[in-house]
């Protein structure tokens, strides 16, 4: 991650002049306003640039290389983030970027910089970055009137930022590098930030009775793991729990997926990555709220030891599950993780994140994730947090009919509706709702919400807050939720 330099604006502008064309100066512009500088104002007018949030205009030759970054109405932090991101995208081939925010509030300034650094994330571990012209500036400065006043806001924003980028770094990793073992190792390294880390594996998982997680991960060379990350917080209260689906690679198992697009299944652990990123953010900003993240890690591989359609699994909760489709594996590993989390921690709220169903993409597309749950207040708080940080959700129902289809002839329940059993020749099954109804059976009686983030975990195209690729969706949402709802009694 690029380290941000927080500097007084007079000093930063001097550095900008000194670097000539290698430095980009990014100026925020409120929609409908004209820049103070008459030359910039004339240029903006000529280019018909109005300052819409998330749009930017390059003006080479004006005070060196200047970029106008639209911040919309300029009030909401999310507008400043979008502006910072768009400005940074326009500065992509410069060595240095200076974000000028000397008339902004500390939170707005921090948002401007956070947006820029969210945009500047790249994954260049596995290629020669020097051959690639898409290299964001290595030196990024936030130029403000008083760095000491902005510092506390930046510390909070930076914690969120590092959480998001940690999640993206995990999601982008291919399946041959990130397996349940190496994923668990990377999570163990989070000890350095004050998180307590436990890794449960092998016989220990079997002894605990995690029959669902062990079955899903049983076909792979690297067996399944359950990783528990705990942030003690500062107050005595029950934890907020994040539960994540971490399928390092999903072949579909015996119910194998078609070849086309299967490579995208390296991102099938985005729920676990988001849960880990969120608890990292809480640790980095020393959140007073105690939290726990429980990550179910497995590779859904094809092998002689793979589980089969028709198998019946005994889950951690004691309930037996009939498997119909080995490619509906996410709900199985979450069943164990949810029941374990509810029983061990009795959390004040439990939120799971999972790239769970294609059905949610058909329902809500790539612009919103679905939220299901048993607690209206928790769902409403998640909705509000999502709107605030531009990770929007939409509430979805769990109806009687969705539970009804999970009745099994020989087990306590089955994991999904049989393929081809839907309307219009079997083509239409509301699988996202079925999956949520399934998870509800394992979530216990406490407040619980389930975020189906399939479709939003990866950006199809570059946007102000990030390039094409993993979005880190969920980290900001959970960080904001905790800040808004669970730190009040601290």
């Amino acid at each position: 991650m690029v380290k941000l330099i927080l500097q007084r604006s007079t000093e930063a502008l001097r550095r900008h002049k000194a670097r000539g064309a290698e430095s980009a100066l990014i100026l925020p512009l409120v929609e409908g306003n004209a820049p103070d500088d008459p030359a910039l104002a004339a240029a903006a007018k000529a280019a018909r640039f109005t300052g819409k949030a998330g749009e930017a205009l390059c003006l080479p030759g004006r005070h060196g290389f200047t970029i106008l970054a639209g911040i919309g109405a300029g009030a909401a932090i999310s507008d400043w983030e979008a502006g910072g991101g768009a400005g940074m995208a326009a500065a992509a081939d410069r060595a240095q970027a200076i974000l000028l925010a000397d008339s902004a509030t500390p939170e707005q300034a921090a948002g401007f910089a956070a947006g820029a650094l969210l945009n500047a994330w790249r994954f260049n571990v596995l290629r020669d970055a020097s051959k690639n012209k898409d290299a964001p500036p290595a030196r990024v400065t936030l130029a403000v009137a008083s760095p000491t006043k902005v510092e506390p806001a930046w510390v909070r924003a930076e914690a969120m930022l590092r959480g998001v980028l940690f999640a993206r770094d995990l999601v982008v990793e291919p399946g041959n590098r990130l397996n349940p073992a190496s994923f668990a190792e990377r999570l163990s390294a989070l000890k350095e930030f004050g998180l307590k880390v436990e890794v449960l594996e092998g016989k220990r998982l079997m002894a605990l009775g995690m029959g669902a997680l062990c079955a899903v991960g049983g076909g792979a060379v690297h067996g399944p793991r359950l990783v528990v990350l705990r942030w003690p917080g500062k107050v005595k209260a029950a934890q907020v729990a994040f539960v994540g689906k971490g399928i390092c690679f999903d072949t579909g198992g015996i119910s194998i997926k078609p070849a086309a697009g299967m490579e995208d299944m390296r991102a099938d652990m985005a729920g676990a990555a988001a849960a880990a990123g969120a608890i990292l953010a809480l640790a980095l900003r020393q959140s007073p709220a105690p939290a726990v993240a429980v990550l179910a890690l497995a590779e859904n591989a094809i092998g002689a030891a793979s589980y089969r359609p028709g198998d019946i699994l005994r889950s951690y909760s004691g309930k037996t599950i009939e498997v119909l489709d080995t490619d509906a594996e996410g709900r199985l590993i979450l069943a164990d993780a949810l029941a374990y989390t509810a029983a061990r921690f009795k959390p004040r709220a439990m939120i799971d994140l999972a790239t769970l169903t294609g059905s949610i993409i058909t329902a809500l597309g790539h612009h919103r994730a679905g939220v299901f749950g048993n607690d209206e207040a928790l769902s409403a708080a998640l909705m509000a947090a999502g709107e605030a940080v531009a990770e929007p959700l939409w509430p979805m129902p769990i109806d009687d009919e969705h539970r009804e289809v999970l009745k099994s002839d020989i087990a306590d329940l089955r994991q999904c509706a049989p393929a081809g059993s839907g309307a219009w020749g079997g083509r239409f099954l509301s699988d996202a709702c079925h999956a949520a109804a399934f998870l509800r059976e394992f979530a216990g009686s406490g407040a619980w919400a389930h975020l189906d983030i399939a479709g939003v975990e990866t950006r199809e195209a570059a946007a102000p807050l990030g390039p094409k690729g993993p979005s880190g969706f969920g980290v900001r949402l959970l960080d904001h939720l905790v800040a808004m709802r669970f730190e009040g009694d601290a």
């Binding site: 809500l364 309307a423 219009w424 709702c433």
Partner: protein, 490 residues
Amino acid sequence: MPDITFVKPALPRGGALVLLLAEGAALAGLAKAAEEATGGAVSRGLEAAKFKGAKGQSCTLWAPGAGLQKIVAIGLGKADALDTQGAENAGGTALTAVQQERDALIAADGLTPALAASCAMGLRLRSYRFDRYRTTEKEDDKPKLERVGIASAEAAKAKAAFAPMQAVADGVFLTRDLVSEPPNVLTPAEMAERCKALEKLGVEVEIMGPREMKRLGFGALLGVAQGSAQEPRVVTMKWMGAPKGKKQKPVAFIGKGVTFDTGGISIKPAGGMEDMKWDMAGAGTVIGLMAALAGRKAKADVIGMVGLVENMPSATAQRPGDVVKSYSGQTVEVINTDAEGRLVLADVMWYCQEKYDPRFMVDLATLTGAIIIALGHERAGLFSNDDTLATHVKEAGSAVGEKAWRMPLGDAYDKQIKSDIADMKNVGGRPGGSITAAQFIQRFVNGKPWAHLDIAGTAWSSKDAPTVPKGATAYGVRMLDRMVADHYEG
């Protein structure tokens, strides 16, 4: 269909007697009279059957004495929690229990007159049968029920409360008939003819044919119709029931009426295609709704409009890639000829606004398979640009057991229907498929409050419900009748 009469409570001399019993309540009224007349057979039977009066529980006592063929006890649940829907469901359950007898008496003497009427309504709704194409059905398989008495201490009051309900039930039956009719019988012209039946209720009916549509420029609707040998129709039904001196702008309901949908050149898979006879359910619902409103002489001015076409592949059919000009002047690139319903609605809705300037519009359409993948079959998708209208629709639906679920709209989804060469294209891809369909329709809303109900999952049911036999449900008739009654009369 049995005759329903309201009578003073008195034990019948034969046939079936239905007792409606609340949980834990002592036998009273007619139930007590039956107990005495049968020498205690009622309480003995109920005890032996472990009948407690729980909601939905039922128990049959054959030849209990006193000349009765049978006594059926139906549980109402807790007496103080009995609501309209509970009474309707009990009536529906009663119908199935007695339909092999010629005469039945429902002992509703323990209910208020309003709930006794609701019980009769439930019985009426469940008694629907579409058997006009059965020629060899055995007598034994046909329902025998000819007369049902509803016993109520205030029979006159109950009868008066039932009269408007009966009109709504007639509307529901009309809709169910239309939706059940096979597509070789119910062509657009035939369906338009059947609208004329509403004239005797005082509805003004205007039928428009293809020449007039061509003159007006209904390019979107005509493009869909051009592949079929059957001519399209647009039918306008006007019910002007608002009292003089209280006239306001009318409210408008618009229905998609694709009498059969092969998909056109973008032809559907064969499995389940027979279901596409009910792709006119939106229009069928509007027609039944108009019958209901006129039948009960609703004090409101209401416009009902339906666009009726058949979508066929043929030498003259519209092709993927065609660009059509809609009545609004906006052009549409037809990417998929199976996304035809929105093209039909586009022209009808724009015309409705130009001609009648309604206060709001609600459209109903079996529009997308995506809404089934999103929600299943218990709820229709509700999309709206107006929160008040959406709330009115949703609440009215909840009150009559026709549930809806609000779905999102937004610019991000609207972008998915951008066309390279026309004002828009008619599909936006699989992600968010029902949302992009709603965005398309919204482009033909000219600044009016508007709500769209995607009823693809709710128009037809594969299993019996207490007041809705399997088959055509007429979902929407009761909901929208109720909405008009609650908010737009007087």
